[in-house]
């Protein structure tokens, strides 16, 4: 979908921006139902933009506003369609007749554990998330994922103890919780993914000998002399050094 008009959501105009064409046509509007109330909003707005355009000050339900934090999980239905749709308010565009509600928080179990005491295999999941073994492979979680991740596949991988696979498939997860809220087996998928990533990073990823060597050097104070020299230098000396340095 192409944006044609500026959505007037910002307090101030950009001073560095050229003036819009005088012939710019008026905003095209559309009707959406925000928590059941009808509002006229620009037809190219995101759900978050529409909620703010309608006059709401969001407290819960907005975070990074760019698709990284998962604060703005939203559910909606379309007219004449029985299906429940899911999306992030910050990146989903409104559609005519959309009936929407944000989820202020997702109630979810997050077991307490000590990462140092876990083993990087299936026992970690058995101990902390035994409910994943109730997965009925219905794939509702995958359908609910706004990132289009293969959520059910990573739960199945967790059941098999394949931590690398869980890590890889859940890597781009935003923890918005839409999978968890739709799951008939009451699994909290995103916490399973997070656990797998932590287990992989700590125990299974191949270690870097270069890093160990550098840490030894720092500990042995190898760079102390050079730091002392640099920290005493005047600006012009530093400048000379800086502009003459070679680049990889």
């Amino acid at each position: 979908m192409m944006a044609k008009k500026k959505v007037a959501l910002k307090k101030k105009a950009r001073p560095e921006k050229a003036k819009p064409e005088p012939s710019e046509p008026p905003k095209k509007m559309t009707t959406v139902f925000i928590m059941g109330k009808a509002h006229q909003v620009p037809d190219d707005a995101t759900i978050m933009g529409a909620i703010e355009y309608a006059g709401y000050q969001i407290k819960r339900g907005a975070g990074c506003r760019e698709g990284f934090c998962g604060a703005c999980a939203t559910v909606y239905r379309m007219p004449g369609d029985y299906k429940i749709y899911t999306g992030l308010a910050c990146t989903t565009l409104v559609q005519e007749g959309m009936w929407l509600s944000q989820l202020p928080v997702i109630p979810a179990q997050k077991p307490i554990y000590e990462i140092e005491k876990l083993e990087p295999n299936v026992t970690a999941f058995q101990k902390l998330y035994p409910e994943i073994f109730r997965c009925v492979a219905c794939n509702t979680c995958t359908k609910a994922c706004p990132q289009s991740l293969e959520v059910m596949d990573y739960i199945q991988a967790a059941i098999r103890g394949d931590i690398e696979k869980v890590m890889d498939l859940s890597f781009d997860c935003l923890c918005c919780g839409l999978c968890a809220i739709r799951c008939p087996a009451e699994i909290v998928h995103y916490n399973v993914g997070l656990l797998a990533k932590r287990l992989y990073g700590r125990y299974l990823s191949k270690k870097s000998p270069e890093l160990e060597e550098r840490l030894r050097e720092v500990k042995a104070k190898k760079f102390d002399k050079e730091y002392a020299k640099l920290m005493k230098m005047k600006k012009d000396e530093l400048e000379k050094l800086y502009y003459a340095r070679d680049t990889e």
Binding site: A3, K4, G67, C175, K197, K206, L215, Y242, Y243
Partner: protein, 555 residues
Amino acid sequence: MYPEYMRESLTLVEKTRPKRLELEKSGKPVFRPMTAQEREDVLNRFHPDYQPEARRIIRVGPNKGESITTEVADMLESHSRIKPELIDLSKPDYETDILIIGGGGAGCAAAILAMQNGAKSIISTKLRLGDANSMMSQGGMQAAVKPQDSPTRHYLDALGGGHFDNKPDLVRALTEDGPEVVKWLEELGVVWDKNPDGSMYVLHGGGTSRKRMHSCRDYTGAVIMRTLMDEVRNHPDKVTILEFMPTIELILDSRGRCAGGILYNMETEEYFAVKAKATIIATGGYGRLHIRGFDTTNHYGATGDGLVIAYRAGANLLYMDSVQYHPTGAVFPEQIAGFLITEKIRGAGGQPINKFGELFVFPREPRDVESAALIRECLERKNGIQTPSGRWGVWLDSPLIETIEGSGYLEKNFPAMVRQFIRYNIDITKEPMLVYPSLHYQNGGIETNDRCETNIPGLYVAGEASGGVHGRNRLMGNSVLDYNVFGRRAGKYAAQYAKSVSLSKLTVDHVADYEDELKKARIKTDRVAPVLLPFYTPEEVRKRQLTAHYEGTLR
């Protein structure tokens, strides 16, 4: 999908790509990097900081008489949210060793280190734990790990990028702790990008002389932040998390030491007093103040709250005249205007291209220089592309990366970027992105030393809220490192300090004193700060919001 009228320019980008690819493969710089004089010239003429109305004199407080960013001066010359005489400090609602203000990367790192050093803490956070710019960093974290690199080389790069204004002791701490932070995060479970032999996969960033950018695909911040949050949540006996409860004033004791803060429950609108032996400000930056009307890459809560509460309590600010604009914010489509396009794109070989398909600047100048060059290309040379809504932009040639690295590289290494644009039918593996500088980072902040101490005993600062380590311009990948290095240090040193301190009578008299100072300076304003949240309500709605008394932005 790009509108038809951009087609001609897009064709030119494709046409010049093979030549530019050849150049990239030659191993020589694809464009001559600027000299010191050229940098100065482009900054003076085009960087938003250097425009006449960008700064004004602040009339009250520790930095009185200094010229600082106009919007920051406005925010600092403001009233408190509370009447100090209504606050009863004789029976604090919470008591703890350390109050940590802010639940982003620095706050969580501080909580973990505080706990490991025997201190209990409370995290007071305005939104949810992890709702922070830390969550959004895409490109990576600098650390000098490779044999051909060294912490001192990292030191020189950071200093040059910051125009040599950086505080040396802070830069040393930043660069020397770098390798340790890589290791610490891996042990907590961060999945770093690696080469098949286990060595770190690193790229260049703007202003780096060695490849030292460590990443987790382009979800670097998201992976680190969630790991830190998870670790914090694994210790509820030692760390109490209070969400949607920002700290809106500091508490001092009768001897002028920081002794906690006043928290505001944004949902029930109650205020609570937290008594703490030490306090750490980790509130991040101020992108949501929309300085000079710019769009921002920042998260919803980035309103500089820590600055104002520390300032009222008497803390010095440093380099508050300097704002970072990220060279590549999205300008098309309109819905994602201002969104961050990671510098990692240029680190991997992406090039900024004008409407004629020409490369016009070295792609990895320090951020302020690169931003100024992009603005010059659009506004002076008129070689930019205008969007249907009137915004200017230049192309960021991402398909070039796919040609250099092979098909599938972008999808694997930049999943967030690919996803961001495919929603609007733009496939960045085949078409470039349209970009323009976007308000990104608070270069300055509350002045600290390498133990994160301020001029107020018991008050520590870490992360973007602090000032000095980046001078007047931060390099890419140094803020992820910053919040880890100084978050850890703040946690450790505050915990050590908390062991020996015994507080005397608590007070918020400084709030009343600041109010007097405003009056004496004849400053009449209805501004209330901390700002807490920006508001994006349209004019027509605001005209009907006729409640007689507003509490800041919260109606």
